[in-house]
């Protein structure tokens, strides 16, 4: 790094952020680790053994988060592409529209889906009014599909924006060059655009997968509280909803998710090795 380019002393510049990180990130993580490996008697591995008994719940969380992430990617990629190729005005407005729902409270948005999806909700009532008959088999809420829908709806912007950012950095000249050299649409997409947008895809996946795997309120509201996700379990252990308050098991569960996410990020960054020099991701 060229020292002449730095404004002020870098160490001093970083001080507020470092302070923030230590107090609100490092210390809490240290506490989670401390709680995960102790109980009233001191060091123990019992808590992690407990985590093993929740394999099913962990698996369900992973599966649902995976679906949500995949659908988000499927949805976001074409949108981000079209946006990045549109005029500056369209880009501005599109970004605004994508961000718009996030101005509303997360809980309110999720509750709104409840009133849409219920048997007596808007969608079913509309269908009933149009076709003049009941659709008793059409259960839109209180199942896994509804949970995934809630995740997709809430986290889609986190997928679109990083991909969009990385795509705006792909110069039109690159695409023109590819076309000049005889590449068709699919080849341009596969050989030029896709590889160059990998950093954005990776940030997007991370930013959707992480909140999806740890959500607890979506499963409660849209899943009818019928299936525990790992986030519900952690909430239960900290708030004692199921009659037992146990920070240690709660911390062990949190630690497990953290390790899983860390591992996933590590693997994904491996893919990113070549592309990372081109930058463009949010994270």
């Amino acid at each position: 790094m060229n020292k002449g380019l730095a404004i002020g002393n870098n160490k001093v510049n970083l001080l507020p952020f470092s302070g923030w990180m230590v107090v609100f990130v490092l210390v809490p993580i240290a506490l989670v680790v401390y709680y995960a490996f102790t109980d009233v008697d001191g060091f123990t591995l019992e808590n992690l053994k407990w985590v093993g008994t929740y394999g099913k719940t962990l698996w369900l969380s992973v599966v649902l988060a995976f679906y949500a992430t995949a659908i988000c990617l499927l949805l976001a990629y074409p949108i981000a592409y079209s946006m990045s190729r549109a005029s500056a005005r369209v880009q501005r407005n599109a970004t605004l529209i994508i961000m718009l729902p996030m101005w509303m409270n997360f809980l309110v948005r999720t509750y709104a889906w409840m009133t849409l999806l219920e048997d007596t909700g808007l969608i079913n009532s509309a269908l009933r009014a149009i076709f003049g008959m009941d659709f008793p088999g059409l259960r839109l809420i209180n199942n896994h599909g509804a949970i995934v829908l809630g995740m997709v709806y809430n986290y889609l912007p986190y997928m679109i924006l990083p991909i969009y950012t990385s795509m705006t950095k792909i110069g039109t000249s690159l695409i023109e060059a590819a076309r000049d050299l005889g590449a068709n649409g699919a080849q341009v997409l596969g050989r030029v655009i896709l590889p160059l947008s990998v950093p954005g895809i990776i940030s997007g996946i991370t930013m959707v997968f992480i909140p999806s795997i740890s959500t607890f309120i979506i499963s409660k509201i849209l899943g009818g509280g019928k299936d525990y996700l790992i986030g519900d379990l952690i909430e239960d252990y900290f708030l004692g909803n199921s009659g037992v308050v146990n920070y240690n098991i709660g911390a062990a569960l949190s630690l497990t998710i953290m390790v899983m996410i860390l591992a996933a990020t590590f693997i994904m960054n491996h893919f990113d090795k070549d592309a990372s020099t081109s930058g463009g991701g949010v994270i």
Binding site: G52, G55, L75, T172, K226, G240, V245, T256
Partner: protein, 418 residues
């Protein structure tokens, strides 16, 4: 030590509390009252401040467990709390409650003798009863056949005819109590076999359950999204006021009878003011206002006599002796039973009775820990279908936009080339 660490982490919450205490007022004393949600006539608090000059910082919780977790975490300090009986005995056992000075609570004399010296606080040293009630089963007369409710049984919650239209408590203590009553157990049983049997009942019921809810029950019952739900008597009346087709009964098998009582936390800096507040809440005119607002049964005899006749004779609020004889009051369960309850509740919540064993897929041992899972067929078929259809639909829309984007690109290219 642990408490101190937690307190540090919840600095923000503490600061908020401090701000609330720091504001100007006619009296420096601020009484922190922590009560169930929608469980008081809020105007009463203003009356209290007008009369005594003591300001009230009023906050609410949704369950005994939530209240307890908040108090033991040390994140906030409260003076007056209104827990249910089993939580009171637990808190007495853990030395969290302060003995009351009844000289400051003369209105205690107005509480009926039937509500004094109950098991959870035998000497009545720590608590003054506020309201009581039972769990009832609410149903919609428009959709539920009369024949199915004629016997006023708990079985209605397990009736397959109403599959997908039944709601259930989203808290293990109440949910297990219903299952225990159905099987004829005591809801305070400590026999693991009986708990296992009750869990089997809940698992059997799960495919019929639309959702496990607490406060959402109001919305879902009033909008007729669900037809059958167990809930607390006073709240059931609130629902019935909103939707005339709703009715309710106390099940013949017996139900949980609860007493919510006012207590003062140990270490409260305003014990005398807290006692003044409790005394105020027991005053006849105030008790009447609260009773009319919350619709629960009240133990204050003079206030009861002032209620209108319709309320006094409502057998759902004030069930007759023979029904009450079958009802049971929760006692504080020992830790090992609570742990079992928590385990079985998680088992219920993570069970998929609908899968046939041959359809279960086993994920093999994972290096990190034993990851053993059934993938329920429900995920594999019905819901993947939904998710996939949604995905296809979404990608159609997406590709439509994408193609338009492509078109724009070529136009732009053409223009530039020109």
């Amino acid at each position: 030590m642990k408490r101190r660490i937690t307190a540090l982490l919840l600095l923000a919450a503490m600061l908020a509390g401090l701000c609330a205490c720091g504001g100007p007022g006619m009296n420096d004393t601020v009484l922190n009252v922590y009560n169930w949600g929608e469980y008081i006539d809020l105007d009463v608090l203003d009356t209290f401040t007008e009369e005594t000059g003591i300001r009230v910082n009023y906050t609410t919780y949704a369950s005994n467990e939530e209240m307890y977790a908040k108090i033991v975490s040390g994140a906030a300090s409260y003076d007056v709390i209104i827990p249910s009986e089993y939580m009171i005995s637990k808190m007495i056992g853990e030395d969290l409650l302060a003995p009351l000075n009844f000289e400051n609570i003369p209105n205690y004399a107005l509480i009926g003798d039937a509500y004094k010296g109950l098991d959870y606080d035998p000497e009545n040293t720590y608590s003054v009863p506020y309201t009581w009630g039972t769990v009832v089963i609410v149903y919609n007369t428009k959709y539920v056949d009369e024949a199915d409710v004629a016997d006023e049984s708990i079985e209605l919650l397990w009736n397959e005819k109403y599959a997908g239209k039944i709601l259930m408590f989203d808290n293990p203590r109440d949910a297990f109590a219903l299952a225990h009553s159905k099987l004829g157990h005591s809801m305070n049983t400590q026999d693991p076999a009986e708990w296992e049997a009750a869990a089997d009942e809940l698992i059997k019921q799960k495919p019929l359950v639309q959702a496990y809810v607490m406060d959402q029950v109001f919305d879902k019952m009033i909008s007729e999204e669900a037809y059958v739900a167990p809930y607390y008597a006073g709240d059931a009346i609130t629902m019935m006021d909103e939707n005339e087709d709703l009715a309710a009964y106390v099940p013949v098998e017996g139900a949980n009878q609860f007493f919510d009582s006012m207590c003062v936390l140990k270490g409260s800096k305003h014990q005398a003011e807290a006692e003044a507040f409790i005394n105020f809440m027991c005053r006849t005119d105030i008790a009447v206002l609260n009773a009319e607002e919350v619709c629960y049964a009240i133990p204050q005899v003079e206030a009861f006599n002032e209620l209108d006749e319709e309320t006094r004779e409502d057998t759902m609020v004030y069930p007759p002796e023979e029904v009450l004889a079958k009802c049971e009051v929760f006692v504080d369960l020992p830790p090992e039973t609570l742990l079992l309850q928590s385990e079985l509740w998680t088992k219920t919540k993570t069970s998929y009775l609908l899968i046939a064993p041959e359809n279960a897929i086993y994920v093999r041992e994972n290096s990190m820990f034993l990851l053993y899972a059934h993938i329920p067929t429900r995920i594999v078929f019905e819901e993947v279908l939904f998710v996939t259809l949604f995905g296809i639909f979404a990608s159609f829309i997406a590709s439509f936009f994408a193609s338009r984007g492509m078109a724009k690109l070529t136009v732009a290219e053409v223009l530039r080339n020109d």
